[in-house]
Subunit: 117 residues, 2 copies
Amino acid sequence: MPRSATTADVFNAVAEPRRREILGLLARGERSVNDVAGSLRVNQPQASKHLKVLKEVGLVRMRGSGQQRLYSLNAAALKPIHDWVMTFAQFWGESYDRLDEYLQELQEQEKQHARKK
Amino acid sequence: MPRSATTADVFNAVAEPRRREILGLLARGERSVNDVAGSLRVNQPQASKHLKVLKEVGLVRMRGSGQQRLYSLNAAALKPIHDWVMTFAQFWGESYDRLDEYLQELQEQEKQHARKK
DNA sequence: TTGATATATTCCCGCATGGGAATATAATAC
DNA sequence: GTATTATATTCCCATGCGGGAATATATCAA
């Protein structure tokens, strides 16, 4: 079995540095494909391909506007990575001492949310 | 140019699900290769290979003990992922409202730390 | 030394990759 | 209609992948 496809999940999609750059750019607002390509000094087909991968895993949304396609960030799709990495925050020394407390509060909030359903 | 090597950086190393499982296991303590292989229902060579990748990017440490090699987690190596994903936390809606505040406090602490040098 | 156990390495394979280059599709303007 | 701009797709290639299987290395025990 070969390596997982880049579109297999968010972890794989985000392993590529240029795709992280694209997400960073889109964090500052919606952009057309050529905007992205220009800002990242990448030619247009590569930009299209990277955006396609990001779209397939839900990290970006697309809408048409004339002949342009405007891509925007869907940062919520990064939550699996956030949640996973936070699992290890307890090992990161004193600066992160209060993170456990914070995460427990978050869990409480989610439980209350679930109960309301 | 092909896809980045799995040992290129932490993002690539961690894109593989089994390697994330290994890290999760090691979070609970040091383990031998066979312990890892047994817990994850993976045969020994695969466990060795995955551990090798994790070691190359600094996510695990190894020490010999008799004929065993004991691997342990080095969670600090996950910080690049943590820092990157936190860049997007502001987009995650109301549950994370206090995260900005929290992160600013962290930055303050780091500045004070730096000043003390 | 021989044997047993623990771990690492090597060879194989099918396969998805990211980039380049060229081309195809889509939408607007005239 | 044609021309132009914006985007997507296709084809190519070299490379590294993860898993299987077999083998090599290392360490202890008797």
